[in-house]
Amino acid sequence: MEALTQFFAIYGSLVNFIGINAILALSLYLTLAAGQLSLGSAAFAGIGGYTAGILTMKLGVPFLLSVVAGSVLSGLVGLLIGLPVLRLHGVFLAIATLAFGEVVRITVLNLDITGGAQGLVGIPNHTKTWGIYLALAVVGYAIAKLRYSRLGWCFESIREDETAAGAMGIDTTYYKTLAFVLGAMLAGFAGALYAHLNYLITPREFGFSVAVDLLIFNIVGGTRAWYGPILGAVLLTALPEILRGTGITAGPMRMAVNGLILLLVILFLPNGLVSIFRRSASKAKDSTLAISEEA
């Protein structure tokens, strides 16, 4: 028991951070599940985080209510952005989502209520470790159930071949937007939890490189099973700490290490770490790399 207390004293914040990253990775997984690549997913976490932070700090809204408000607003923005943007494919979708992330970052930097570049300072700490992991468990269970539901099969069919799915009578616009909005809501939720975990949040924590990290979590873990993104998030978030334990300071090399792992996974485990556990996944012809096939 004492060892456990000591472990938490040292690694408590890392454990929390792993949980948040896992939820964030799952939020992107929802969008990817319908074959839609997003480079702006971190911005939704930012919207949720800033909304919830401002609500609890400046208006004294109860914690849970502000978390809900954060994720709802993030979902609404997702709906607004998703409708025009999801008509695009490939490189245009990537550029559009990237630009969206940048719009959110610049807005947050220039507004007064968000504290600009200094960030939002003095958010009360309400998020507890058990809360994060309870949320992760519920979200994980829901997403695992979703996969074999009617909705899950709709997402899957759009991801495999959007034209064919449309020809089968699936309303592709509706389901693509739904996947995007659900992902945005979940990201906003995770962002709201994150805001109440730290004393402050800054625009940089929801920037482009975080969006790329989330994508890496998904690709490394694998997008063929619900636990893939969690696996990727846990491994890659804990890795810098593990490396520090072995004497390598990973600070400036973090991106290089992530890139190397990504490259190795793409070369040897094209379906991500999931394929170690699922033989059917490793047999699948197409790789995780094929996030959405070109028609």
Binding site: L39, A99, N110, E293
Partner: protein, 292 residues
């Protein structure tokens, strides 16, 4: 008086806009042959600028540094194609998006580790003493940007039209399958386009760094505007980027003059989003039908 200031802002902005146009032109080169672009192109601009600065610090004269820097850009472009694009294109997947981003981020951390995080001045023999035309001041440095941009784009267009290799390039852009049946290697043409695109990025880096200084983050603002210019003009439209680039550059400097420098990035992003929502193929692009 007021109209002079406006004209002055517009002209200075337009010079910067030409740099966006040049980078956007690099996107067009690879998009026309392979329907892919390098999302880490900004890091290519930055790395080439740093490399050129290092050449200058080694005592290489300025006019010899330019070809050296361009060659470095070509090598980087080829490396990106080999490591990030070829495999994904063979699998007909969109993995190149993520891979080129990752290669860019690797380049970014490499630059931070090799050259440090500070912005450094970039020496140039070209004078920055203003010349005056009709009350508008232009520096020879700004004129050199315009000359450099038009020289590189002109030479590449000439290469595409007048040489056999260039005609192969055009053939693959027009119809990849038909070109392959004519015995043109599409893979090599894609390599060529990435090499040229790397060269264009290096040129942009060399031209812009005396004005903006050299640092790891020097290209992060440039690249987003290059995206807007490329998308607004159309990724397949040749010289349309010049017009859109000049327009965006001028608009941007007027925006920052009237609304404050914090909103400098806004016009580029607004144009980009409008263009994607209304005309994803660009103002100068042709509408294409997605086939099954």
């Amino acid at each position: 008086m007021n109209s002079t200031i406006i004209a002055q802002m517009a002209v200075s902005g337009a010079m910067m806009g030409l740099v966006y146009a040049l980078i956007a032109y690099g996107f067009q080169l690879t998009f026309s042959t392979s329907k892919s672009i390098n999302f880490g192109q900004g890091e290519l601009v930055m790395l080439s600028a740093f490399f050129s600065l290092t050449l200058l610090n080694w005592g290489v004269p300025y006019w010899l540094m330019v070809p050296g820097g361009l060659l470095f850009g070509v090598v980087l472009g080829l490396a990106v194609e080999r490591a990030g694009v070829r495999l994904a294109l063979e699998q007909k997947s969109e993995g190149w998006i993520l891979l080129t981003i990752i290669i860019g981020l690797l380049g970014f951390s490499a630059a931070e580790n090799i050259w440090g995080r500070d912005d450094r001045p970039f020496p140039t023999p070209i004078s920055s003493d203003a010349l005056h035309f009709f009350g508008i001041s232009i520096t020879p440095l700004e004129i050199s940007v315009a000359v450099g941009v038009f020289a590189v784009m002109g030479l590449i267009e000439l290469f595409k039209r007048k040489t056999l290799l260039g005609k192969a390039f055009e053939a693959v852009s027009a119809d990849r399958d038909a070109a392959e049946l004519m015995g043109i290697s599409a893979t090599r043409t894609v390599m060529l386009s990435y090499g040229l695109s790397g060269m264009v990025a290096a040129m942009a880096g060399i031209l812009v760094s005396p004005i903006t200084t050299v640092g790891p983050t020097m290209a992060s603002a440039l690249i987003l505007k290059a995206f807007s210019v490329a998308v607004v003009a159309g990724l397949e439209s040749g010289f349309g980027v010049v017009i859109v680039g000049i327009f965006l550059g001028a608009l941007e400097s007027l925006t920052s003059f009237y609304l404050g420098s914090g909103w400098r990035e806004a016009p580029g992003l607004i144009l980009l989003i409008l263009a994607l929502a209304v005309r994803p193929n660009g103002i100068f692009g042709k509408a294409t039908i997605r086939k099954v």
